[in-house]
Symmetry: C2
Subunit: 194 residues, 2 copies
Amino acid sequence: MGDARRARIVEVATREFAQHGYRGASIARIAESAGLSQPGLLHHFRTKERLLTAVLEVRDARDAERFFGEAGTRPRGLAAFERLQDLVDRNSREPLLVQLLAVLSTEAVIGGDPARRWLRERHRLMRTVITDGLREAADAGDLRPAADPDTQADRLIALLDGLRIQWLLDPDRVDMARIFRLSVDDLITSLRLH
Amino acid sequence: MGDARRARIVEVATREFAQHGYRGASIARIAESAGLSQPGLLHHFRTKERLLTAVLEVRDARDAERFFGEAGTRPRGLAAFERLQDLVDRNSREPLLVQLLAVLSTEAVIGGDPARRWLRERHRLMRTVITDGLREAADAGDLRPAADPDTQADRLIALLDGLRIQWLLDPDRVDMARIFRLSVDDLITSLRLH
DNA sequence: ATTATCTATAGATCTATAGATAATGC
DNA sequence: ATTATCTATAGATCTATAGATAATGC
Protein backbone atom coordinates (compact mmCIF):
# COMPACT_ATOMS: atom_id res chain seq x y z
CA MET A 1 0.00 0.00 0.00
CA GLY A 2 2.96 2.31 -0.61
CA ASP A 3 0.95 4.04 -3.31
CA ALA A 4 -1.69 5.45 -0.97
CA ARG A 5 1.07 6.77 1.29
CA ARG A 6 2.83 8.42 -1.61
CA ALA A 7 -0.39 9.99 -2.83
CA ARG A 8 -1.05 11.32 0.66
CA ILE A 9 2.47 12.75 0.88
CA VAL A 10 2.10 14.47 -2.49
CA GLU A 11 -1.20 15.91 -1.33
CA VAL A 12 0.15 17.51 1.84
CA ALA A 13 3.34 18.53 0.05
CA THR A 14 1.23 20.46 -2.47
CA ARG A 15 -0.23 22.50 0.36
CA GLU A 16 3.16 23.06 1.97
CA PHE A 17 4.82 24.20 -1.27
CA ALA A 18 1.89 26.48 -2.04
CA GLN A 19 2.00 28.10 1.37
CA HIS A 20 5.74 28.44 1.83
CA GLY A 21 7.32 28.06 -1.60
CA TYR A 22 9.92 25.46 -2.46
CA ARG A 23 12.61 26.95 -0.32
CA GLY A 24 10.38 27.69 2.64
CA ALA A 25 8.75 24.28 2.61
CA SER A 26 9.95 21.88 5.29
CA ILE A 27 10.17 18.17 4.67
CA ALA A 28 9.76 17.58 8.39
CA ARG A 29 6.47 19.49 8.43
CA ILE A 30 5.21 17.63 5.38
CA ALA A 31 6.13 14.34 7.01
CA GLU A 32 4.32 15.29 10.18
CA SER A 33 1.17 16.26 8.28
CA ALA A 34 1.33 13.00 6.39
CA GLY A 35 1.69 11.11 9.64
CA LEU A 36 5.20 9.71 9.41
CA SER A 37 8.71 10.69 10.39
CA GLN A 38 10.93 12.84 8.23
CA PRO A 39 13.29 10.01 7.23
CA GLY A 40 10.15 7.95 6.67
CA LEU A 41 9.11 10.41 4.01
CA LEU A 42 12.55 10.42 2.46
CA HIS A 43 12.23 6.70 1.96
CA HIS A 44 9.47 7.44 -0.57
CA PHE A 45 10.96 10.54 -2.14
CA ARG A 46 14.71 10.53 -1.86
CA THR A 47 15.17 14.29 -2.02
CA LYS A 48 13.12 17.46 -1.67
CA GLU A 49 13.59 18.08 -5.38
CA ARG A 50 12.05 14.73 -6.29
CA LEU A 51 9.09 15.47 -4.06
CA LEU A 52 8.58 18.75 -5.90
CA THR A 53 8.77 16.94 -9.21
CA ALA A 54 6.08 14.52 -8.04
CA VAL A 55 3.86 17.41 -6.97
CA LEU A 56 4.25 19.09 -10.36
CA GLU A 57 3.48 15.88 -12.21
CA VAL A 58 0.24 15.32 -10.34
CA ARG A 59 -0.66 18.97 -10.91
CA ASP A 60 -0.07 18.77 -14.64
CA ALA A 61 -1.94 15.51 -14.97
CA ARG A 62 -5.03 17.10 -13.43
CA ASP A 63 -4.83 20.09 -15.76
CA ALA A 64 -4.39 17.84 -18.76
CA GLU A 65 -7.42 15.81 -17.76
CA ARG A 66 -9.49 18.96 -17.40
CA PHE A 67 -8.38 20.37 -20.70
CA PHE A 68 -8.41 17.27 -22.86
CA GLY A 69 -11.29 15.53 -21.11
CA GLU A 70 -11.40 11.83 -20.31
CA ALA A 71 -11.34 10.88 -23.95
CA GLY A 72 -8.10 12.79 -24.41
CA THR A 73 -9.29 14.51 -27.57
CA ARG A 74 -7.83 17.89 -28.27
CA PRO A 75 -10.43 20.61 -28.85
CA ARG A 76 -9.85 22.45 -32.14
CA GLY A 77 -10.33 26.00 -33.32
CA LEU A 78 -12.66 28.16 -31.30
CA ALA A 79 -13.50 25.18 -29.09
CA ALA A 80 -9.94 25.31 -27.71
CA PHE A 81 -10.59 28.77 -26.33
CA GLU A 82 -13.81 27.76 -24.68
CA ARG A 83 -12.11 24.80 -23.09
CA LEU A 84 -9.30 27.05 -21.90
CA GLN A 85 -11.76 29.45 -20.33
CA ASP A 86 -13.50 26.57 -18.60
CA LEU A 87 -10.18 25.31 -17.26
CA VAL A 88 -9.35 28.71 -15.82
CA ASP A 89 -12.83 28.93 -14.31
CA ARG A 90 -12.44 25.64 -12.53
CA ASN A 91 -8.86 26.17 -11.41
CA SER A 92 -9.56 29.66 -10.12
CA ARG A 93 -11.98 28.13 -7.66
CA GLU A 94 -9.12 26.24 -6.03
CA PRO A 95 -7.13 28.79 -4.04
CA LEU A 96 -4.44 26.31 -3.13
CA LEU A 97 -3.82 25.53 -6.75
CA VAL A 98 -3.70 29.18 -7.74
CA GLN A 99 -1.19 29.82 -4.98
CA LEU A 100 0.97 26.85 -5.93
CA LEU A 101 1.20 28.04 -9.50
CA ALA A 102 1.87 31.65 -8.52
CA VAL A 103 4.55 30.80 -6.00
CA LEU A 104 6.37 28.27 -8.12
CA SER A 105 6.19 30.45 -11.20
CA THR A 106 8.64 32.90 -9.77
CA GLU A 107 10.68 30.47 -7.80
CA ALA A 108 11.16 28.77 -11.14
CA VAL A 109 13.00 31.86 -12.24
CA ILE A 110 15.42 31.81 -9.33
CA GLY A 111 15.52 28.18 -8.69
CA GLY A 112 17.23 25.23 -10.16
CA ASP A 113 16.39 22.96 -12.96
CA PRO A 114 13.15 21.11 -12.18
CA ALA A 115 10.88 24.08 -11.53
CA ARG A 116 12.39 26.04 -14.36
CA ARG A 117 11.96 23.25 -16.88
CA TRP A 118 8.44 22.65 -15.67
CA LEU A 119 7.35 26.26 -16.14
CA ARG A 120 8.96 26.56 -19.57
CA GLU A 121 7.23 23.42 -20.68
CA ARG A 122 3.94 24.61 -19.25
CA HIS A 123 4.21 27.92 -21.09
CA ARG A 124 5.22 26.18 -24.29
CA LEU A 125 2.18 23.95 -24.09
CA MET A 126 -0.19 26.87 -23.51
CA ARG A 127 1.39 28.74 -26.39
CA THR A 128 0.79 25.79 -28.67
CA VAL A 129 -2.81 25.46 -27.57
CA ILE A 130 -3.47 29.11 -28.33
CA THR A 131 -1.63 29.40 -31.63
CA ASP A 132 -3.07 26.11 -32.88
CA GLY A 133 -6.54 27.28 -31.87
CA LEU A 134 -6.12 30.51 -33.80
CA ARG A 135 -4.79 28.76 -36.86
CA GLU A 136 -7.51 26.14 -36.90
CA ALA A 137 -10.22 28.78 -36.42
CA ALA A 138 -8.80 30.62 -39.42
CA ASP A 139 -8.68 27.41 -41.48
CA ALA A 140 -12.30 26.72 -40.56
CA GLY A 141 -13.26 30.19 -41.74
CA ASP A 142 -14.36 31.35 -38.27
CA LEU A 143 -11.65 33.99 -37.86
CA ARG A 144 -9.20 35.74 -40.07
CA PRO A 145 -5.57 34.73 -39.53
CA ALA A 146 -3.83 36.48 -36.62
CA ALA A 147 -0.93 38.70 -37.63
CA ASP A 148 1.25 37.53 -34.75
CA PRO A 149 -0.24 34.50 -32.99
CA ASP A 150 2.79 33.95 -30.74
CA THR A 151 2.48 37.41 -29.29
CA GLN A 152 -1.23 36.93 -28.67
CA ALA A 153 -0.41 33.72 -26.85
CA ASP A 154 2.27 35.39 -24.76
CA ARG A 155 -0.19 38.10 -23.78
CA LEU A 156 -2.76 35.65 -22.52
CA ILE A 157 -0.17 33.60 -20.66
CA ALA A 158 1.29 36.70 -19.00
CA LEU A 159 -2.19 37.85 -18.09
CA LEU A 160 -2.89 34.57 -16.31
CA ASP A 161 0.40 34.53 -14.44
CA GLY A 162 -0.15 38.12 -13.36
CA LEU A 163 -3.78 37.68 -12.38
CA ARG A 164 -2.83 34.92 -9.97
CA ILE A 165 -0.62 37.32 -8.06
CA GLN A 166 -3.35 39.94 -7.90
CA TRP A 167 -5.94 37.45 -6.86
CA LEU A 168 -3.75 36.26 -4.01
CA LEU A 169 -3.14 39.78 -2.79
CA ASP A 170 -6.79 40.63 -2.91
CA PRO A 171 -9.13 37.72 -3.63
CA ASP A 172 -12.32 39.70 -3.19
CA ARG A 173 -11.40 42.48 -5.55
CA VAL A 174 -10.11 40.56 -8.56
CA ASP A 175 -12.15 38.07 -10.54
CA MET A 176 -9.45 36.17 -12.33
CA ALA A 177 -11.66 33.98 -14.46
CA ARG A 178 -13.82 36.90 -15.57
CA ILE A 179 -10.87 39.02 -16.69
CA PHE A 180 -9.33 36.08 -18.53
CA ARG A 181 -12.65 35.34 -20.25
CA LEU A 182 -12.99 38.95 -21.25
CA SER A 183 -9.50 39.10 -22.69
CA VAL A 184 -9.94 35.94 -24.71
CA ASP A 185 -13.23 37.35 -26.03
CA ASP A 186 -11.48 40.58 -26.99
CA LEU A 187 -8.93 38.63 -28.96
CA ILE A 188 -11.54 36.53 -30.73
CA THR A 189 -13.69 39.56 -31.50
CA SER A 190 -10.78 41.47 -32.97
CA LEU A 191 -10.22 38.60 -35.40
CA ARG A 192 -13.84 37.89 -36.25
CA LEU A 193 -14.93 38.12 -39.88
CA HIS A 194 -17.66 40.68 -40.43
CA MET B 1 30.23 58.61 6.06
CA GLY B 2 27.63 56.11 7.24
CA ASP B 3 25.39 57.12 4.36
CA ALA B 4 27.72 55.92 1.62
CA ARG B 5 28.05 52.59 3.41
CA ARG B 6 24.33 52.23 3.72
CA ALA B 7 23.84 53.06 0.05
CA ARG B 8 26.43 50.45 -0.88
CA ILE B 9 24.75 47.86 1.30
CA VAL B 10 21.37 48.56 -0.28
CA GLU B 11 22.95 48.24 -3.70
CA VAL B 12 24.44 44.82 -3.12
CA ALA B 13 21.35 43.72 -1.19
CA THR B 14 19.23 44.53 -4.25
CA ARG B 15 21.28 42.11 -6.29
CA GLU B 16 21.16 39.42 -3.61
CA PHE B 17 17.38 39.67 -3.16
CA ALA B 18 16.87 39.65 -6.93
CA GLN B 19 18.99 36.55 -7.38
CA HIS B 20 17.88 34.50 -4.41
CA GLY B 21 14.59 35.99 -3.22
CA TYR B 22 14.01 37.28 0.28
CA ARG B 23 14.21 33.92 1.94
CA GLY B 24 17.16 32.69 -0.05
CA ALA B 25 19.14 35.87 0.45
CA SER B 26 21.92 35.69 3.02
CA ILE B 27 22.86 38.66 5.15
CA ALA B 28 26.35 37.25 5.50
CA ARG B 29 26.81 37.18 1.72
CA ILE B 30 25.49 40.69 1.37
CA ALA B 31 27.86 41.86 4.09
CA GLU B 32 30.79 40.19 2.39
CA SER B 33 29.96 41.81 -0.97
CA ALA B 34 29.66 45.16 0.75
CA GLY B 35 33.01 44.62 2.41
CA LEU B 36 32.11 44.32 6.06
CA SER B 37 31.26 41.63 8.56
CA GLN B 38 27.75 40.30 9.03
CA PRO B 39 27.22 41.94 12.43
CA GLY B 40 28.75 45.06 10.89
CA LEU B 41 25.90 45.11 8.41
CA LEU B 42 23.33 44.54 11.13
CA HIS B 43 24.56 47.66 12.83
CA HIS B 44 23.16 49.65 9.89
CA PHE B 45 20.01 47.59 9.29
CA ARG B 46 18.89 45.90 12.46
CA THR B 47 17.05 43.06 10.78
CA LYS B 48 16.80 41.39 7.40
CA GLU B 49 13.29 42.75 7.07
CA ARG B 50 14.45 46.34 7.51
CA LEU B 51 17.08 45.80 4.88
CA LEU B 52 14.39 44.61 2.49
CA THR B 53 12.30 47.65 3.30
CA ALA B 54 15.25 49.90 2.49
CA VAL B 55 15.78 48.12 -0.83
CA LEU B 56 12.11 48.57 -1.74
CA GLU B 57 12.16 52.24 -0.82
CA VAL B 58 15.14 52.96 -3.04
CA ARG B 59 13.49 51.00 -5.81
CA ASP B 60 10.24 52.92 -5.58
CA ALA B 61 12.00 56.25 -5.39
CA ARG B 62 13.74 55.55 -8.69
CA ASP B 63 10.48 54.54 -10.37
CA ALA B 64 8.75 57.63 -9.05
CA GLU B 65 11.53 59.81 -10.38
CA ARG B 66 11.27 58.21 -13.78
CA PHE B 67 7.53 58.49 -13.93
CA PHE B 68 7.02 61.93 -12.48
CA GLY B 69 10.25 63.45 -13.80
CA GLU B 70 12.50 65.75 -11.81
CA ALA B 71 9.84 68.41 -11.59
CA GLY B 72 7.48 65.93 -9.95
CA THR B 73 4.57 66.88 -12.16
CA ARG B 74 2.04 64.19 -12.82
CA PRO B 75 1.36 63.58 -16.52
CA ARG B 76 -2.35 63.78 -17.34
CA GLY B 77 -4.65 62.02 -19.76
CA LEU B 78 -3.01 60.30 -22.70
CA ALA B 79 0.38 61.63 -21.58
CA ALA B 80 0.20 59.32 -18.55
CA PHE B 81 0.14 56.31 -20.84
CA GLU B 82 3.10 57.50 -22.84
CA ARG B 83 5.05 58.08 -19.65
CA LEU B 84 4.10 54.62 -18.43
CA GLN B 85 5.28 53.04 -21.65
CA ASP B 86 8.56 54.93 -21.37
CA LEU B 87 9.00 53.75 -17.80
CA VAL B 88 8.48 50.13 -18.81
CA ASP B 89 10.92 50.60 -21.71
CA ARG B 90 13.63 51.86 -19.43
CA ASN B 91 13.05 49.39 -16.62
CA SER B 92 12.94 46.44 -18.98
CA ARG B 93 16.50 47.21 -19.95
CA GLU B 94 17.62 46.53 -16.37
CA PRO B 95 17.50 42.77 -15.91
CA LEU B 96 18.32 42.97 -12.22
CA LEU B 97 15.39 45.24 -11.62
CA VAL B 98 13.01 43.06 -13.59
CA GLN B 99 14.14 40.07 -11.59
CA LEU B 100 13.79 41.85 -8.26
CA LEU B 101 10.22 42.82 -9.06
CA ALA B 102 9.31 39.38 -10.36
CA VAL B 103 10.81 37.52 -7.44
CA LEU B 104 9.42 39.76 -4.74
CA SER B 105 6.01 39.91 -6.36
CA THR B 106 5.32 36.32 -5.51
CA GLU B 107 7.22 36.20 -2.31
CA ALA B 108 4.95 39.05 -1.30
CA VAL B 109 2.10 36.62 -1.54
CA ILE B 110 3.67 34.07 0.78
CA GLY B 111 5.66 36.35 2.91
CA GLY B 112 5.03 38.61 5.79
CA ASP B 113 3.94 42.12 6.03
CA PRO B 114 6.54 44.39 4.43
CA ALA B 115 6.69 42.80 0.99
CA ARG B 116 2.95 42.28 0.92
CA ARG B 117 2.15 45.86 1.84
CA TRP B 118 4.70 47.10 -0.66
CA LEU B 119 3.20 45.16 -3.56
CA ARG B 120 -0.36 46.14 -2.72
CA GLU B 121 0.64 49.76 -2.56
CA ARG B 122 2.53 49.48 -5.82
CA HIS B 123 -0.49 47.94 -7.55
CA ARG B 124 -2.80 50.54 -6.05
CA LEU B 125 -0.60 53.33 -7.37
CA MET B 126 -0.48 51.86 -10.86
CA ARG B 127 -4.23 51.39 -10.84
CA THR B 128 -4.69 55.03 -9.95
CA VAL B 129 -2.32 56.17 -12.67
CA ILE B 130 -4.25 54.19 -15.28
CA THR B 131 -7.79 55.00 -14.18
CA ASP B 132 -6.94 58.68 -13.72
CA GLY B 133 -5.34 58.73 -17.15
CA LEU B 134 -8.44 57.23 -18.74
CA ARG B 135 -10.75 59.62 -16.95
CA GLU B 136 -8.70 62.69 -17.83
CA ALA B 137 -8.43 61.63 -21.46
CA ALA B 138 -12.21 61.32 -21.56
CA ASP B 139 -12.63 64.73 -19.91
CA ALA B 140 -10.28 66.24 -22.47
CA GLY B 141 -12.34 64.72 -25.26
CA ASP B 142 -9.54 62.45 -26.48
CA LEU B 143 -11.27 59.20 -25.61
CA ARG B 144 -14.73 58.09 -24.74
CA PRO B 145 -15.18 57.03 -21.11
CA ALA B 146 -14.11 53.47 -20.35
CA ALA B 147 -16.90 51.18 -19.21
CA ASP B 148 -14.80 49.58 -16.49
CA PRO B 149 -11.54 51.45 -15.93
CA ASP B 150 -10.52 49.36 -12.90
CA THR B 151 -10.64 46.17 -14.89
CA GLN B 152 -8.58 47.74 -17.67
CA ALA B 153 -6.02 48.76 -15.08
CA ASP B 154 -5.94 45.27 -13.57
CA ARG B 155 -5.38 43.78 -17.00
CA LEU B 156 -2.37 45.96 -17.70
CA ILE B 157 -0.90 45.37 -14.24
CA ALA B 158 -1.33 41.61 -14.56
CA LEU B 159 0.21 41.72 -18.00
CA LEU B 160 3.31 43.44 -16.66
CA ASP B 161 3.69 41.09 -13.71
CA GLY B 162 3.31 38.11 -16.01
CA LEU B 163 5.62 39.41 -18.71
CA ARG B 164 8.44 39.72 -16.21
CA ILE B 165 8.24 36.02 -15.48
CA GLN B 166 8.26 35.15 -19.17
CA TRP B 167 11.11 37.48 -19.88
CA LEU B 168 13.20 35.89 -17.14
CA LEU B 169 12.52 32.41 -18.44
CA ASP B 170 13.41 33.37 -21.97
CA PRO B 171 14.85 36.86 -22.40
CA ASP B 172 15.56 36.49 -26.10
CA ARG B 173 12.10 35.36 -27.07
CA VAL B 174 9.92 37.85 -25.22
CA ASP B 175 10.05 41.59 -25.75
CA MET B 176 8.34 42.83 -22.62
CA ALA B 177 8.28 46.50 -23.47
CA ARG B 178 6.93 45.87 -26.96
CA ILE B 179 4.04 43.72 -25.76
CA PHE B 180 3.16 46.21 -23.05
CA ARG B 181 3.22 49.07 -25.56
CA LEU B 182 1.04 47.11 -27.91
CA SER B 183 -1.50 46.33 -25.21
CA VAL B 184 -1.73 49.92 -24.06
CA ASP B 185 -2.22 50.97 -27.68
CA ASP B 186 -4.98 48.41 -28.06
CA LEU B 187 -6.74 49.84 -25.05
CA ILE B 188 -6.41 53.44 -26.25
CA THR B 189 -7.52 52.51 -29.76
CA SER B 190 -10.60 50.73 -28.49
CA LEU B 191 -11.64 53.90 -26.69
CA ARG B 192 -10.74 56.37 -29.41
CA LEU B 193 -13.48 58.63 -30.77
CA HIS B 194 -14.03 58.21 -34.50
C1' DA C 1 29.65 60.58 23.54
C1' DT C 2 28.36 58.32 19.64
C1' DT C 3 28.95 55.64 15.71
C1' DA C 4 31.09 51.88 13.31
C1' DT C 5 33.29 47.76 13.47
C1' DC C 6 34.90 43.11 14.85
C1' DT C 7 35.12 38.18 16.98
C1' DA C 8 32.62 34.71 19.12
C1' DT C 9 28.59 32.36 19.77
C1' DA C 10 23.73 31.13 21.02
C1' DG C 11 19.88 29.07 19.25
C1' DA C 12 17.06 27.64 15.61
C1' DT C 13 16.51 25.66 11.34
C1' DC C 14 17.02 22.21 7.55
C1' DT C 15 18.32 18.10 4.43
C1' DA C 16 20.14 13.83 4.15
C1' DT C 17 22.38 9.56 5.90
C1' DA C 18 23.56 5.52 9.06
C1' DG C 19 21.95 1.76 11.13
C1' DA C 20 18.40 -0.82 13.49
C1' DT C 21 13.76 -2.87 13.60
C1' DA C 22 9.24 -4.10 12.13
C1' DA C 23 5.95 -5.37 8.48
C1' DT C 24 4.91 -7.47 3.77
C1' DG C 25 5.01 -10.26 -0.22
C1' DC C 26 6.72 -14.46 -2.44
C1' DA D 1 14.03 -10.66 0.44
C1' DT D 2 12.16 -6.36 0.14
C1' DT D 3 9.76 -2.52 1.65
C1' DA D 4 8.52 0.69 5.20
C1' DT D 5 9.54 2.74 9.28
C1' DC D 6 12.00 4.71 13.27
C1' DT D 7 15.72 7.10 16.33
C1' DA D 8 19.84 9.49 16.34
C1' DT D 9 22.84 12.49 14.31
C1' DA D 10 26.19 14.71 11.05
C1' DG D 11 26.98 18.77 8.79
C1' DA D 12 25.58 22.98 6.84
C1' DT D 13 23.07 26.99 7.06
C1' DC D 14 21.12 31.32 8.95
C1' DT D 15 19.73 35.49 11.95
C1' DA D 16 20.58 38.02 15.77
C1' DT D 17 22.94 39.25 20.12
C1' DA D 18 26.80 40.04 23.61
C1' DG D 19 30.65 42.36 24.55
C1' DA D 20 34.98 44.45 23.24
C1' DT D 21 37.62 47.84 20.51
C1' DA D 22 38.54 51.39 17.26
C1' DA D 23 37.20 55.64 14.83
C1' DT D 24 34.56 60.12 14.57
C1' DG D 25 32.25 64.30 15.71
C1' DC D 26 31.44 67.91 19.16
